[in-house]
Assembly symmetry: C2
Homo-oligomer: 370 residues x 2
């Protein structure tokens, strides 16, 4: 079912589209994060109005709450949460690494303790596939081994090799279940080592996936290092498959990574920061709690077409935020996601016109005016 | 501008409508509470979709946050919060009584300490009028003196007399500002003393207001006593003016008070309880956090036409609530407000058809089936 078509290039930047059984996605695209079966504070209608084409669900979280036994009664996450568009689910590996109280990796899989109740669980590559299939995911991610930053070469190599072995197990299990609507993406690791990044990309690509993700970035390394690793991986991946840079990033990161040939992104930044009052604009970010905005009748950003900017002032948004009103989170989230999704749309347009370089230059020059 | 028309009666129950410069309101009506310039978790579009005809704003809260200096820049609360329908504001008196850390009542007004920062403020009848005018309220409430339950006769009498004197000062100040779109309602007090309730109603009515509210109920007294006092007041008030029972109540309270001739209600119960997981149905209430609902694919109430019931299962709502997802508050609030507004609508219909007794009987018989 899954099918990716490259529709245009401009330097290394590219536009494309992929087709899932639940709809077509135009790339480059940003995927809002719906950790627990809800993009925090938003309804599916909000997401459609924002032009969200695909959202992300977190396997680790959904496995623990509400659990697959609940979601399978609804034949998957879509009907459970009332979202009819495509969903990509992660493998659970990164959340175990970043959230669980205790975890231990063996060749079989990762044993971890729930961050909620301390209960013990084993996540194997096969189990991750099984859970993601139960979630009804349109794009399933392989279970990989994440390593901290910094990590020495030995650690990075061991994780790379295990990631490859696990990727093969994921593929084997996935295929053993017969044909279905779920696409399967592999994940490249390799720490911050150029040769390991190259080797991982080759090994993962050799197994054969519907798309390839660059994992293990944005884990605390300097920005230049992240871009260097992304550059190596994105430059080495095949043209005919979608490339997903996981867990990244700032608007600048998106522009730079698209410039290097990335197609897909996810990050909690627009949604999480919205709930902390930080709002994104083409000139940069500001925090709505600042007293400067007390009497400010202007929208978050002049000309922004999001629901929040069309209807509310900074003064009102500041008041809601200062008063911890629930509507604050929704209005801020709508704006920030609009910013990210609109940025992706503008990049697609610029690439389509062969003007991505100009777009990129303008993107920075506007940011430097304030 | 303000104009009330009695459109039908059925026993003591009545239907009517009042016209404000921002729209017409059909009575009996329930007014969702928008304490701080937002009905918690909802947008104005949500309120319109729910059929909310008028909402309530809290003068005490809005005076403290964001303050009149902010709201006057927007020419009132409507534009500030993006709600174009009618707004009724309370006087601030009850909130001082129930929320402020320290307050002292003198003939001039009430000195109180903010529950937010402890700052000291004086609310006089004139000041309350001024603030409510600044808020652009469509229906302004007189400042009254609230007393606790139980209160002895001496306390109740003193508060009644002060309430009358303050009502006159409110009226005088209001008129001194010249004609405008703001209606002014008086408030009846009198504690739990029949003769004082009658006397207060007479005194308030004699001053001459656009509508009359029954205040000082639902402050901890037994339900029978509340109904007894409401019965006395509602029986004594003129037919040609709207009657508003403040801060009440449960669905049963609404049915009983409409049966006694009440027209308007406000209460935080549907919205606050929604945020605590308690949901209203025609059979009674239940709490969505209960494990019973873990796999429950049915909506909160079969046949309910609210957005939440049309799109989400109890299992999903339980999951959102258990996970403290922000969407939980909105979905629960939408259902509960729909329940209250629909109840008011059904009462109007039943009164219109001359079938309010049957409606009331059915209302209770459905509740007793589970």
């Amino acid at each position: 079912m899954f099918q990716f078509t490259l529709t245009g290039t401009c330097g290394r930047a590219r536009t494309g589209r992929f087709v899932t059984s639940r709809g077509t996605v135009q790339t480059p695209i940003f995927m809002p994060v719906g950790t627990l079966g809800s993009v925090k504070s938003l309804s599916p209608e909000d997401l459609h109005e924002l032009g969200a084409q695909i959202i992300l669900g977190n396997t680790y979280h959904l496995y623990l709450r509400p659990g697959c036994d609940v979601i399978e009664r609804f034949s998957g996450l879509h009907r459970f949460m009332n979202w009819d568009g495509p969903i990509l689910t992660d493998s659970g590996g990164f959340q175990i690494f970043s959230l669980s109280k205790l975890f231990k990796i063996t060749e079989e899989g990762t044993t971890f303790q729930s961050h909620i109740d301390g209960s013990s669980h084993l996540l194997t590559p096969e189990k991750s596939m099984e859970i993601q299939r139960c979630l009804g995911s349109d794009i399933i991610m392989c279970l990989d081994e994440c390593i901290p930053y910094p990590a020495n070469r030995e650690q990075a190599l061991a994780a790379l090799e295990r990631t490859t072995r696990w990727a093969q197990r994921c593929k084997d299990y996935h295929e053993s279940q017969g044909p279905g609507p779920h696409a399967l993406f592999g994940i490249v690791q390799g720490g911050m080592y150029e040769d390991l990044r190259r080797r991982s990309a080759e090994e993962i690509e050799a197994i054969g996936f519907d798309g390839i993700a660059v994992g293990g970035l944005s884990v605390g390394e300097p920005k230049e290092l992240m871009m260097e690793m992304a550059d190596i991986n994105l430059g080495a991946l095949p043209q005919e498959k979608p490339r997903y840079v996981m867990g990244v990033g700032t608007p600048e990161d998106l522009v730079e990574l698209v410039n290097l040939g990335a197609d897909m992104f996810d990050c909690v930044m627009p949604t999480r920061n919205a709930r902390n009052g930080q709002l994104f604009t083409s000139r940069g970010t500001f925090n709505i709690k600042n007293a400067t905005y007390k009497y400010d009748k202007s929208p978050i950003e002049e000309g922004c077409e999001c629901y929040t900017c069309r209807n509310y002032s900074r003064a009102y948004l500041r008041h809601l935020y200062a008063s911890r009103e629930l509507l604050s989170y929704r209005l801020n989230t709508i704006h920030n996601l609009h910013y990210y999704l609109d940025l992706a749309g503008k990049m697609r347009e610029a690439i389509g016109k062969g003007e991505f370089d100009t777009f990129r230059k303008d993107f920075y020059s506007i940011r430097n005016t304030e």
